[in-house]
C-alpha cells in the first residue's frame, strides 16, 4: 500500500515538474534576483556593477518620512479599490443575476471598462477631470453643485478619491463576473424557502445569498488586494503619484526610484516591501479561510 502511494506521489511529482520548473524560471528567479538587488547599490545605468550594502537601502527607506506616507497611501488605495470593486461588483452581479429584458446586452456592456486598455482609460479620465474643459466639472456646475473648476487630479485632498474612482470603474466588472458565477451556484431553492418563511429581500441577501458566496468573496478580495499593490499604469498616467505624493503608492515609488532616479537597489528594496505585504495578505486570507472552514465543520 505504502509503495503504491509512493509510486503515485512520484508520478504526481513528474506530472507537475514542468510547471514547477517553468514557474521557478519565470517567477522564482526574478523574485530572488529582486531580493538580491535590494541589498546592493545597483544603478540602472550600470546594472552589472554593484556592491553589497547590507540593509542600507531598507534603513534609508524606513527613515524617510515620505516612505511612511507612501505606505499609508498604498493602504488607502488598496483598501478603497478593493471595497469599492467588491461592493459595486456585487451590486452589478445581483442585477445581472435577475431575469429582465436585455439582460445579455447589460452583461456585455458591463464588461466594457474591464476590456478597455488602461492607457486609454487614463487618457479619457484626464480629460473628464480637466479643471477648465472637463465634462465632469461642466456637468456638476450645470446642476449647481460646484462653482468654478474643481481640480480633481491636482488637489491633494481630491486626487486619491479621483484615482480610486477610475480604478474602481476599471476593475469592478471583474468582480461582477466572478460574483455572478458564484451567485448562480447558490441553489434557488434556498432563497425560495427563505422567502416562504417570510424573509424579505435584504434578509435573503445577508442570511442566504452572501454566506453562500462567502468563499468566492474571500478569494476575490485576496486577488484584488494583491493586484492593487501592483497597479501602476493608471496611477502613473493620471497623477505620477502626485500632487504632493497624495497618490504615491509603493509601486509608483518603486518606478520613480528605479527608472527616474536610476537607483535599482533602492527600487528593489521597495519591491521587497511590496512582496512582503502581498505575503502578509495571503497569510491573513488563509487564516480567515481556515477559521471559517473550522466553524463550518463545527456547525
Amino acid at each position: 500500500m505504502q509503495s503504491n502511494e509512493r509510486a503515485i506521489n512520484r508520478e504526481a511529482w513528474f506530472g507537475i515538474a514542468p510547471a514547477v520548473l517553468l514557474l521557478a524560471a519565470v517567477q522564482g528567479y526574478p523574485i530572488l534576483r529582486g531580493i538580491y538587488l535590494s541589498f546592493t547599490n545597483t544603478s540602472l545605468l550600470s546594472p552589472n556593477r554593484s556592491t553589497f550594502v547590507g540593509l542600507r537601502n531598507f534603513t534609508a527607506l524606513f527613515n524617510l518620512d515620505s516612505f511612511q506616507i507612501t505606505m499609508v497611501k498604498t493602504l488607502v488605495y488598496a483598501t478603497g479599490s478593493v471595497i469599492g470593486a467588491v461592493v459595486l461588483g456585487l451590486a452589478a452581479a445581483l442585477v445581472m443575476n435577475g431575469a429582465f429584458p436585455g439582460r445579455r446586452l447589460v452583461r456585455a456592456m458591463i464588461l466594457v471598462p474591464w476590456a478597455t486598455p488602461q492607457v486609454a482609460v487614463a487618457l479619457v479620465f484626464v480629460w473628464i477631470f480637466n479643471a477648465d474643459y472637463g465634462v465632469l466639472n461642466y456637468a456638476l456646475s450645470s446642476i449647481g453643485l460646484i462653482d468654478g473648476g474643481v481640480l480633481w487630479l491636482n488637489d491633494p485632498d481630491l486626487a486619491m478619491g479621483s484615482v480610486l474612482l477610475v480604478t474602481i470603474w476599471k476593475i469592478f466588472p471583474f468582480s461582477a463576473l466572478v460574483l455572478l458565477a458564484a451567485l448562480q451556484s447558490v441553489p434557488a431553492s434556498l432563497e425560495e424557502a427563505a422567502r416562504i418563511d417570510g424573509a424579505r429581500g435584504f434578509a435573503v441577501l445577508t442570511e442566504i445569498t452572501l454566506p453562500g458566496i462567502r468563499r468566492t468573496i474571500l478569494v476575490l478580495v485576496l486577488f484584488l488586494s494583491i493586484w492593487s499593490l501592483r497597479r501602476f499604469e493608471l496611477i502613473w498616467l493620471l497623477t505620477q503619484g502626485g500632487p504632493v505624493r497624495a497618490t504615491n503608492t509603493l509601486v509608483v515609488d518603486l518606478y520613480r526610484q528605479g527608472f527616474v532616479n536610476a537607483h535599482l537597489g533602492r527600487a528593489a528594496a521597495i519591491g521587497v516591501v511590496g512582496f512582503l505585504a502581498s505575503i502578509l495578505i495571503t497569510i491573513v486570507y488563509y487564516y480567515v479561510e481556515q477559521r471559517s472552514a473550522r466553524r463550518a465543520g463545527e456547525a
Binding site: 540602472l44 477631470f129 479643471a131 473648476g149 480633481w152 487630479l153 504632493v244
Partner: protein
C-alpha cells in the same frame, strides 16, 4: 538527410543560385548595414515628418546603410535609453538632453567621436565643447534651444498692450487679459509632468536672478530662487493660468486663441504654425519679462552608442547630419533653433514661413542662456528635479509658502548632493 544524398542537394542549390544570376549573389553580399536611430521628434506632428524625410534622404544616398527609426515620446525617452543602454543594448545613435548627457557619458554609454568622424572639418559651434569630457568629444549639438516668451500678437493688441518687459508689466497685462476672459499665461500645472515643470520654473528662478546650485552646492532656498517660485505661484493663484493643464493642452489652447502667452522652447512657434496655419502671423517671440536677462537653455546632444556593433555606419550617418545639407534640414526641422555648426543662412530654409524669426533672434541676443542643469550637480540632475517638482506642488496645490517649501527642498537637495 542521409549523407549519400548531400551532394545531390548541394548541386541543386548551386543550380538554383546559378539560375538566379550574379545580381542576386551580389545583392546578398552587399545587404545594407542596419543601424537604429532614436529621437523623440519622430513622435511629434510637424517635426516627425521632417525628420523622417531627412533620414530617408540619407538612405537614398547611402544604399549600404539602412536606418531603423526608433520613435519614443519625450517623457519616456531618457528612461528608455538608460534602461536599454544599461543592459549593453540600445539604439546605435540617440539624442539626450544636457541634464542626462553627463550621466550617460559617465556610465560609458557614448563612444568618443574623435576617431570615428572628421570633427575639425565640421565647423562646429562653441556649444559643442559642453560635450567634451576628459578631453574627448562624446556628442555633438543636435539643437541648442532656449526658452523665451511666446505670445499671441492679436490678443495683446486687442487690449492695447505691448509685450511685457518686466514682471510688473506682466502682471498688469495678465490682469487686463483676464478681464477679457482669456488666460494670460500657461505652464505645466499637473503633477503628471514633473520633468517639464522643472524647465518652466527654471525660467522664473533665473528671471529673478537665482540659480539651482553653485559650485556643486544646492541653492534651492536662495532668496532669488524663492522669489522666482513665489512669482510663479502668484500667477497660478491669481487665476491667470489654466489649472491642471499639461503641455499639450496649453499649447493647443494657445493655437486656439485661449491662452495669450507662455514661456517655452523655440521649437514651439513652428509646431504651433504647423498645427494651425492661421496662427503663423499672430505668433510673437520676445525676451522673458524679467529684469535679470537670464533665461533657461536646453541643449540636446546626439552621439553614438558605445554598445553599437556598427559604429562606422553610425558615424557616416552622423557626418551626414552635420554636413551643410543635413544641418539646414535640422535647422528647419527645429524651427530655427541653433544647430551644432555655424550655418550659412543666406538661403534660410524657413524663409517667410517663420515671420517670428527676427524677433526670436533679437530675444536670444538680449538674454543670457543658463542651462537648467544645476551647476556642478549634473550627475544628480534627475533626483534634484524630483525634489524641486514636489516643492512646487506643495506651493501650488497645498498652499505652502514658497519660503517653507524651498527650505525643505534645500534640505533634501543637500542630502542628495552629499550622497
Amino acid at each position: 538527410m542521409s549523407f549519400r544524398k548531400f551532394p545531390y542537394a548541394a548541386a541543386i542549390g548551386l543550380g538554383i543560385a546559378g539560375l538566379l544570376g550574379p545580381e542576386w549573389a551580389a545583392a546578398q553580399s552587399a545587404s545594407p548595414v542596419t543601424i537604429e536611430f532614436a529621437a523623440w521628434q519622430f513622435t511629434e506632428k510637424g517635426r516627425g515628418e521632417k525628420l523622417n524625410a531627412l533620414v530617408d534622404k540619407f538612405m537614398q544616398g547611402h544604399p549600404d546603410i539602412k536606418i531603423e527609426k526608433v520613435a519614443v515620446p519625450y517623457p519616456q525617452f531618457e528612461q528608455t535609453i538608460f534602461t536599454q543602454a544599461g543592459q549593453g543594448a540600445g539604439p546605435d545613435v540617440f539624442l539626450l538632453g544636457d541634464d542626462a548627457f553627463p550621466k550617460a557619458v559617465n556610465a560609458g554609454f557614448f563612444e568618443p567621436l574623435g576617431e570615428l568622424m572628421d570633427l575639425p572639418s565640421l565647423n562646429l559651434t562653441s556649444v559643442n565643447e559642453d560635450a567634451v569630457i576628459d578631453g574627448k568629444q562624446y556628442g555633438l549639438v543636435w539643437g541648442a534651444n532656449t526658452y523665451n516668451l511666446i505670445y499671441n500678437k492679436e490678443l495683446l493688441s486687442s487690449i492695447g498692450a505691448k509685450v511685457p518687459a518686466s514682471y510688473e508689466e506682466f502682471l498688469d497685462v495678465a490682469k487686463r487679459l483676464q478681464e477679457k476672459g482669456v488666460f494670460a499665461f500657461a505652464f505645466r500645472t499637473t503633477s503628471a509632468e514633473t520633468a517639464g515643470m522643472w524647465y518652466d520654473v527654471s525660467n522664473w528662478v533665473y528671471g529673478a536672478g537665482g540659480r539651482w546650485a553653485k559650485d556643486g552646492q544646492p541653492e534651492f532656498d536662495g532668496p532669488q530662487v524663492v522669489e522666482g517660485v513665489d512669482r510663479l505661484a502668484n500667477i497660478y493663484k491669481s487665476g491667470y493660468v489654466p489649472k491642471g493643464a499639461d503641455a499639450a493642452t496649453y499649447r493647443r489652447m494657445f493655437w486656439e486663441g485661449k491662452v495669450a502667452m507662455f514661456i517655452d522652447n523655440l521649437s514651439l512657434p513652428g509646431i504651433i504654425a504647423a498645427g494651425n496655419p492661421d496662427m503663423r502671423d499672430k505668433i510673437g517671440v520676445a525676451r522673458n519679462p524679467f529684469q535679470s536677462g537670464d533665461h533657461a537653455s536646453l541643449t540636446t546632444f546626439i552621439g553614438i552608442n558605445a554598445n553599437s556593433k556598427n559604429k562606422k555606419a553610425a558615424a557616416e550617418f552622423m557626418s551626414y547630419l552635420f554636413s551643410q545639407e543635413g544641418q539646414l534640414a535640422l535647422y528647419e526641422l527645429l524651427g530655427g533653433v541653433s544647430v551644432g555648426t555655424k550655418l550659412d543662412l543666406s538661403n534660410n530654409p524657413l524663409g517667410g514661413n517663420a515671420p517670428w524669426l527676427g524677433e526670436m533672434e533679437a530675444a536670444i541676443e538680449a538674454q543670457r542662456a543658463v542651462s537648467t542643469v544645476p551647476e556642478g550637480l549634473a550627475q544628480k540632475a534627475s533626483e534634484l528635479r524630483t525634489v524641486m517638482s514636489e516643492a512646487l506642488e506643495q506651493v501650488l496645490f497645498n498652499g505652502t509658502s514658497a519660503q517653507d517649501a524651498m527650505k525643505k527642498a534645500q534640505e533634501q537637495a543637500k542630502a542628495i548632493a552629499a550622497e
